[in-house]
Symmetry: C2
Subunit: 346 residues, 2 copies
Amino acid sequence: MAAPKPIRTRRKMQRVTIMDVAARAELSPSTVSLYFRKPDAVSAAASEAIARAIDALDYVPNLMAGGLAAASSRVVSIIVPSVRNAFFAETVATLQDELGKHRLQVMLSHTEYREHDEESLVRTALSWTPAAVVLTGLSHSTATRRLLRDSKVPIVEIWELGSPTMDMAVGFHHDQVGQAAASHLVQRGRKRLLFLGARLHEDRRAARRAQGFVETARDAPDVTADIIQHPAPASAEVGAMLLGEALHRFPNVDGIACSNDHIALGVIFECQRRGISIPGRLSVVGFGDLSFSAAANPSLTTIRPPGDLIGKEAARLIIARIAHPDTEPERTVIDTRFNLLHRQSS
Amino acid sequence: MAAPKPIRTRRKMQRVTIMDVAARAELSPSTVSLYFRKPDAVSAAASEAIARAIDALDYVPNLMAGGLAAASSRVVSIIVPSVRNAFFAETVATLQDELGKHRLQVMLSHTEYREHDEESLVRTALSWTPAAVVLTGLSHSTATRRLLRDSKVPIVEIWELGSPTMDMAVGFHHDQVGQAAASHLVQRGRKRLLFLGARLHEDRRAARRAQGFVETARDAPDVTADIIQHPAPASAEVGAMLLGEALHRFPNVDGIACSNDHIALGVIFECQRRGISIPGRLSVVGFGDLSFSAAANPSLTTIRPPGDLIGKEAARLIIARIAHPDTEPERTVIDTRFNLLHRQSS
DNA sequence: GCTCAAGATAATAGCGCTATTATGTAGCCG
DNA sequence: CGGCTACATAATAGCGCTATTATCTTGAGC
């Protein structure tokens, strides 16, 4: 019962491999591999021959093979609620730019604010043995935490600070944002305050800003504060609607903080239409310092979250961690703070 | 000279592999692999045993190993100028959502409007043997084209139509946008037209809109048209500045088209400050229909590019192509068109 | 001239999975 | 009840690269 030698017709890819390059350069595959990984270890003559061969053959390395062999990859997986949101877009873009300088690739996923989706996204992310994982916010399921912990991959949580942190974190305290807005309005002599918020049930960070706002406001003498919200995503139209509701329910409102500048812009537009003077009768504070905020009429007082800085710092932490894979990882928390930009609307 | 048998101490990863799962489920690795790739081919009993094993071991598949073995991956590489730009953010987000439904991952890269960077980005993209590559626009270097052609990977060019197309394309004609804006203003009886543009030297598509605008405008009797531009990225502030320059150089201007809504918003704000009536003395048309445009005061007439539709259609094409890898690929060009939204500003 | 270290290059054995082929096992037919 | 098919499972050989070790080449030092 002699086992017949099976003839395998494995699809022999026509792909140009490191072996082809080596053959053409009259060197071994090892040397070509070294050329990519540690160029300094290869002689000038060999380097040139390899470069010529690569060029002639139009060689494209196979990073999956490399990653498999090295049990690592230069992929950073980023999970944000949505890149449609200008805040996260800014951070993702900055991360992308900074990581790109170190030949790290960005793999992007959205939760669309559905937190329970995060686990499967993390699972897929880990399937690529990424160099790092970036998550938005601090609330993650137990399963997600376990997955990430077991993987031993560097983790950066962005855009929110508080407890507990998994590994590294870069962001700021959203309740402090609300506090800053409230303090500002109180300082301007406002007494009847409102927080106008969009999608607070899904956007935990906005909800924390709202909470910080009312708590601080209510600590001030003779000041009252409430929250008015709308379930739709933030837009100027929602802002206009919310102002209508605010005036209806609290006719003597004189200070408004908004969950972001889209809402605030809608408030400004609606006030123009209704002939309500800003900041004469009403002070308005936004959040975001979006592209239009400084140019608005009146220009919008707002709180600027440093989306770019968050991206930069997160990238810096990742790169530093990758550079020293052996040293005991250090838990790092970076508070980027935020800026209140006082303009005409308050 | 007997060769000593070398003892390899290859780092034996502690990673849970398909073999561990197989052992626990008392099945072969092949069957476990089949369970992932073709679940229907595995018996119910086996499936259950495998599922239990996966759960117990917290198995995370290694997609790099899988991709290497299968000579393919479920990664779609997307290259856009910048995700900071709301247009591309919208498309990227939609692509991400649609592709995600089919378990396709998005790898994202930015050119930052530096077209000569595209080649190296494409090169890296191809290193992942992606399922498809999505590029913005139609102008690519010869080397980029060759790389992509040789790779035989499905390609979708988005956000611009014209010649020549590499494989599939989804977008619209930007010169037609300019034409539509010009026709609209001419119809409204405007005679002294201007196109206000930001970063036209880098943003080819905006430049084509500008060109289409002046060409169409100048065909109309008694109508004159010019372009005023600024090298900075589009923002309301730049819009305000451009309006200042426009009034200075062409005091009798009565119709303005903008390279995007940020510019247009700046124009509106600046007109408010200067007491210039819109649309009484000046008609304004934007591009983009950004979040604030409908709520502006006056609401902004603008041309809406279907960023979400572009993403949806691109995803559809990719998914269709992947589903039929054998059939001869069909060159597809989808013209999504665009909408002129007539509002108060014109 | 010989030794030895440093610098280059090469040989080898996987990384964890999939595709392909092979084998086993019922179920059905005549 | 032998043979044949359909279905389920298993065995095997890579995919293209990297990490590790081994070997070869210089050139310095004495």
